[in-house]
Symmetry: C2
Subunit: 255 residues, 2 copies
C-alpha cells in the first residue's frame, strides 16, 4: 500500500544542476532522491517490472547552484520501513551534500507544490578586508560595500501583490507573473549582508534579480525611487543583474 511521505531536505547545491530533473545528467537533487528510493524499492522487491517510476515532488524548483536548508517534498511510496528507518536509509545512501532532515507520513491529499502557501529565501553577501573561508561556497563576495539604508528603502518599494515580470528570468513565461511578496529585509552582521525575502511564491531567478537590483541601488548605480518604474515596466531589461546562485538558500516553505 502506497503512503504519502512528506520530507524536509537540505542540500549544498554547488555540484548540482538544480532541483529538477535535467536531460543528460543525474546531478539534480530530485534525481538523487529518486535514485535512492528506487534502490530501496528494488531491495524490498515492492516494485515489479511494470512499476511506474518514483516521483519526488518538490515545493519548487531551485536553480543550479542554489542551496536549501529546508526544501519540502513529498513522495508516494510502498515500503515496510518506519519513518525513522526511511530517513536513516536515505541518509546512508545519499551523497553527503544532501540530507533528509525529517520524514513523516502525511495525508494523501498533501502536495508539496500545490499546498505551499509561502517561501522564505535568504541571499547572503560578504564584504570585508578578510574572506569567508568556511562558507565561501554559500556567499557572494562583494568588492565594494553597498549602502544598507538605500537598499532597504528600495526593498520596501518591492513588496506587495504585484506583477513581478521585470524580475522574471524566463522570457518565455506564459503564466501569470503576479506574486505577493510581504518581506524584503536586509540585515548586516559583521561582514555579512543578508537579504531575507518572504512571499507567496517566486518566478524563475526572481530572488536573485531582486537582490542584484538592490545591490545596484546600494552601490549608487540606481535610486530607490526607480523601483516602482521598474515594476511598472514589466520588462526584465529594466531590472538589475542576476546575483550569483551560490548566495541563495531556500530557508523554509509554509503550509
Amino acid at each position: 500500500m502506497k503512503k504519502n511521505y512528506k520530507m524536509i531536505v537540505s542540500y549544498d547545491g554547488t555540484r548540482y544542476y538544480g532541483w529538477e530533473h535535467q536531460p543528460d545528467t543525474d546531478m539534480t537533487i530530485q534525481g538523487k532522491l529518486e535514485a535512492v528510493l528506487e534502490g530501496l524499492r528494488m531491495s524490498e522487491g515492492t516494485g515489479g517490472a511494470d512499476a511506474s517510476p518514483i516521483t519526488v515532488i518538490g515545493a519548487g524548483r531551485t536553480d543550479a547552484g542554489v542551496h536549501a536548508r529546508a526544501m519540502t517534498c513529498n513522495v508516494l511510496l510502498d515500503t515496510e520501513l518506519t519513518e525513522e528507518a526511511l530517513q536513516a536509509y536515505m541518509n546512508r545512501y545519499l551523497p553527503e551534500d544532501i540530507s533528509v532532515n525529517d520524514v513523516r507520513i502525511c495525508a494523501d491529499r498533501f502536495h508539496s507544490r500545490f499546498k505551499a502557501m509561502g517561501k522564505t529565501y535568504r541571499y547572503t553577501c560578504w564584504y570585508g578586508a578578510s574572506r569567508p573561508v568556511f562558507d565561501r561556497k554559500y556567499v557572494y563576495v562583494l568588492d565594494r560595500k553597498p549602502d544598507i539604508g538605500r537598499m532597504q528603502a528600495a526593498a520596501d518599494l518591492m513588496t506587495g501583490l504585484r506583477d513581478y515580470k521585470s524580475f522574471c528570468g524566463n522570457p518565455r513565461m506564459k503564466k501569470s507573473t503576479v506574486r505577493a511578496v510581504d518581506t524584503v529585509r536586509i540585515e548586516e552582521s559583521g561582514s555579512y549582508i543578508r537579504f531575507y525575502i518572504h512571499g507567496s511564491g517566486f518566478l524563475q531567478n526572481m530572488v536573485r534579480i531582486m537582490t542584484g537590483t538592490l545591490l545596484e541601488v546600494g552601490f549608487g548605480d540606481r535610486d530607490p525611487e526607480e523601483i516602482p518604474e521598474i515594476l511598472a515596466a514589466c520588462d526584465r531589461s529594466r531590472a538589475g543583474f542576476t546575483a550569483p546562485a551560490k548566495g541563495l538558500c531556500l530557508m523554509k516553505v509554509d503550509y
Copy 2:
C-alpha cells in the same frame, strides 16, 4: 628596510598537507603564503638575485586537513605597502580557502612561535538523524551518541601540568612531552558536540588523540577512571584513536 609583520590567518585545511612546508608539494599553508609574498617582492623589485627566501613563521604546525580560524604568524618583509594594502594584496592572490584577517607591523623581537603563551583548539563532532550538509568538511560525523557526562568527567582528569607522552602521535619525539592544559570543556548544541581545549602548547596529534580517547569513554568502551593510568603510562598505545583531522580547528593563539 625589513619590518616584522604579524598576521592573523584563517584557512580551510581540507586541500592542504598542513601548515608546514613539505617536500614535493606546494599545497601547504606556509607555502601558499610565502609564494604570494615572493610574488609581491618580485613585483616591487625589492628582492634581488641573492635575496634569501621569505619565511612565514607560524605559531605552530597544523596537521594535514586541520583548519584554523586564527593562526598567528609573522614575517620579515621589505615592502612599500601599508598594512591594509598588504592584506588586500594577499587576499587578492591567495586561494579562496586561505584568508588574511589582519596585518600589523610589530616589534622586531616578536616571534609567533617562541612568544606564543597558549592556544585554543576546537574539535567538532556531529551526531543526529540528519547530516551537516553545509559544514560537512569541518565536523566528524559519529554513528553513535557519546555520553557527554562521562566524557566531561574524563576530560577533567586530563588537565594539569603533565607529561602527555601517551597523547603524542610522534613516536620519535625527543624533546619534553610535558605540557600544561588548563581547559577541556565539552559543549552540546543541537546535533553538535564541541570540545574546547586550551593549553600552553600541544604535541603532534595531541588534541585529536585526546578527543579520540574521550569519545571512547563517551561510547562506554573505556572508563573515565582510566585517564590517570593512561597519562602515567607514557605510552601512546594506551590512549585512544586519533580523531580525524577534519573536525579540528585552531581557534586562537595567546601572546
